[in-house]
């Protein structure tokens, strides 16, 4: 089995607590329920808009000054609005699940394998 993160991109920020995003909530919940039952979903969250982001840099190496920027790291037309962590046997299975996430038709999904981090 392998872990994948399904990054949900949209053409504008998603305000999950207000319409019209709210009306899509049941679709996301339904996907999450099915994927959890199938043992595929290992996690996932919705993200607040990028205007709520803070970008952090520590200058001059570890222990240096902490510099903050109000906003996202990269100004882009597409915004990351949430993610799902999926566990699947292979890429085909992961794609089959990712294609059922509403973001796949409301925006686009980037599916990336999770790199194992060795101690």
């Amino acid at each position: 089995m392998a872990l994948y993160v399904a990054l949900c991109y949209y053409d504008r920020d998603q305000y999950w607590d207000s319409p019209p995003e709210m009306e899509f909530s049941p679709e996301y919940m339904e996907f999450a329920r099915r994927a959890t039952e199938a043992g595929v979903m290992r996690g996932g969250e919705a993200l607040h808009p990028v205007t709520m982001s803070t970008t952090i840099t520590v200058s001059g190496g570890k222990g240096g000054d902490v510099l903050l920027v109000d906003g996202p790291y990269a100004e882009a037309k597409e915004v990351l609005g949430g993610y799902f962590l999926l566990e699947a046997a292979d890429l085909d299975e992961a794609i089959a699940w990712a294609a059922q996430i509403p973001a796949a038709w409301r925006g686009k999904i980037e599916l990336r394998p999770i790199a194992p981090v060795h101690a």
Partner: protein, 420 residues
């Protein structure tokens, strides 16, 4: 064919088969590739001395499997895979190749392994250019420099492309599997598209000086044969082989003695390869018999190629049938190039005024030298010589290769001389 050629042919023919099974049993295409490359080097060294073994595939399989196990041992990070490989593996000492061959699993699953390899190389999660590169390296066993030359990219670029593609197969876990029945049509279409792309690159190489790169054409036909052999019930696989054979039959007539391109209308048809036409026609009949009356795009294109290949001359070509076939092709693939070829056939069937009208309805070929050249041809036939010269001038500017530029330039000179 000398001894070295025979040896290379054997290695090219058996290599992908050995690789296909090895990749499944060790579960890593990249390692399997490296192991086969090492085994190939061993064979090139050993076989000239010992002669080609009775069962070269089994010989290669045993040596490649050993090389793979060595590679896995060396990479301690791959401990899990190593265990799997050993479970399947072999304890034979290096000098016990014969015994190891006898102990090998029966080859009944070879067909499935080959299909797995093909569908992995052409997986839609890989870019089309990665699919093409992998197919030529893995399935056709071409060396990296040869592939780089064929696609006019630096060797380092092609090597990087292959490394990246193999890494993605392993890291993203592209499965080494035959697609399910529901997925198969789409996945097969991708495989056929890769082979078709290799063939068209051979047919009309971008840039460079050669009119046709015969080696790529031969590789495309080799791959198409493999697909037809593995999937004898898939009419489009058979049709693609038919199409490539019928088109390749004209290759030697596509250039004159000076290496200049000769268009279909002017080709010396006695130089066409009749054996290839006969074989292509036979595969086409086979495809038709299996297609249940529904012709796919490759079948229609094969019919078109056959209609040209069996015509005694350009003038005596069955243009009505050709226009009809292009109509059919256009109805399943909305492609401006199909519309362009249809318009050329309309010119021959109904005259230049009708051809010109058909060309002018096509949108999206403003930057195609072929469209401007076709416009010029009709304008010239209608007596609009100066407009024809203008279109030819555009065509020369837009032509993607030197040989095509030369051809169009000579036409432009002729038209200008008519202007006086």
């Amino acid at each position: 064919m000398d001894a070295t050629d025979t040896l290379v042919e054997v290695l090219k023919g058996e290599g992908p088969r050995v690789l296909a099974t090895l990749a499944r049993t060790i579960g890593d295409l990249a390692v399997a590739e490296d192991a086969l490359s090492e085994a190939t080097i061993t064979a090139l060294d050993a076989w000239p001395k010992t002669g080609i073994p009775d069962n070269p595939r089994a010989w290669l399989a045993v040596v490649a499997r050993r090389k793979a196990l060595d590679l896995l041992r060396r990479e301690s990070a791959r401990a899990a895979k190593e265990t799997a490989a050993f479970r399947w593996g072999t304890g034979a000492a290096p000098d016990q190749i014969e015994e190891a061959i006898e102990a090998m699993e029966p080859e009944t699953s070879l067909r499935d392994d080959m299909l797995r390899l093909i569908f992995t190389c052409c997986h839609p999660a890989l870019s089309r250019e990665a699919q093409v590169a992998l197919s030529l390296r893995t399935l056709a066993r071409l060396e990296v420099p040869a592939i780089a030359r064929a696609f006019l990219v630096p060797e380092a670029t092609m090597a990087k492309r292959l490394v990246r593609a193999r890494a993605k197969i392993t890291t993203a876990r592209i499965p080494y599997a035959i697609p399910s029945d529901t997925e198969l049509p789409g996945r097969l279409a991708a495989v056929l598209a890769v082979v078709y792309l290799i063939a068209t690159e051979a047919h009309a190489p971008t840039g460079g000086d050669a009119v046709a790169r015969v080696d790529l054409e031969a590789e495309a036909i080799r791959l198409a044969r493999l697909l037809a052999d593995l999937m004898p019930d898939e009419p489009e696989a058979l049709s693609l082989l038919a199409l490539l054979l019928l088109t390749s039959a004209r290759t030697s007539a596509r250039t004159d003695a000076d290496g200049n391109p000769v268009t279909l209308a002017d080709q010396d048809r006695t130089r066409w390869n009749r054996a290839a036409i006969a074989e292509g026609s036979a595969w086409l009949s086979e495809a038709v018999a299996r297609s249940g009356g529904v012709a796919g795009p490759y079948q229609i294109q094969a019919h078109l190629a056959a209609a040209h290949s069996t015509a005694p001359s350009w003038q005596e070509t069955d243009w009505d049938r050709i226009v009809g076939l292009y109509d059919l092709l256009g109805s399943i693939t909305a492609n401006p190039v199909v519309a362009l070829n249809r318009a050329v056939a309309v010119t021959e069937r109904d005259g230049p005024a009708a051809g010109l009208a058909a060309l002018k309805t096509i949108v999206g070929l403003e930057y195609s030298h072929l469209w401007h050249a076709a416009l010029a041809d009709n304008l010239r036939r209608l007596g609009h010589t100066s407009e024809a010269a203008g279109e030819l001038h555009s065509a020369v500017t837009l032509a993607p290769s030197e040989v095509e530029q030369r051809l169009l330039q000579s036409r432009l000179r002729t038209v200008r001389s008519e202007l006086g």
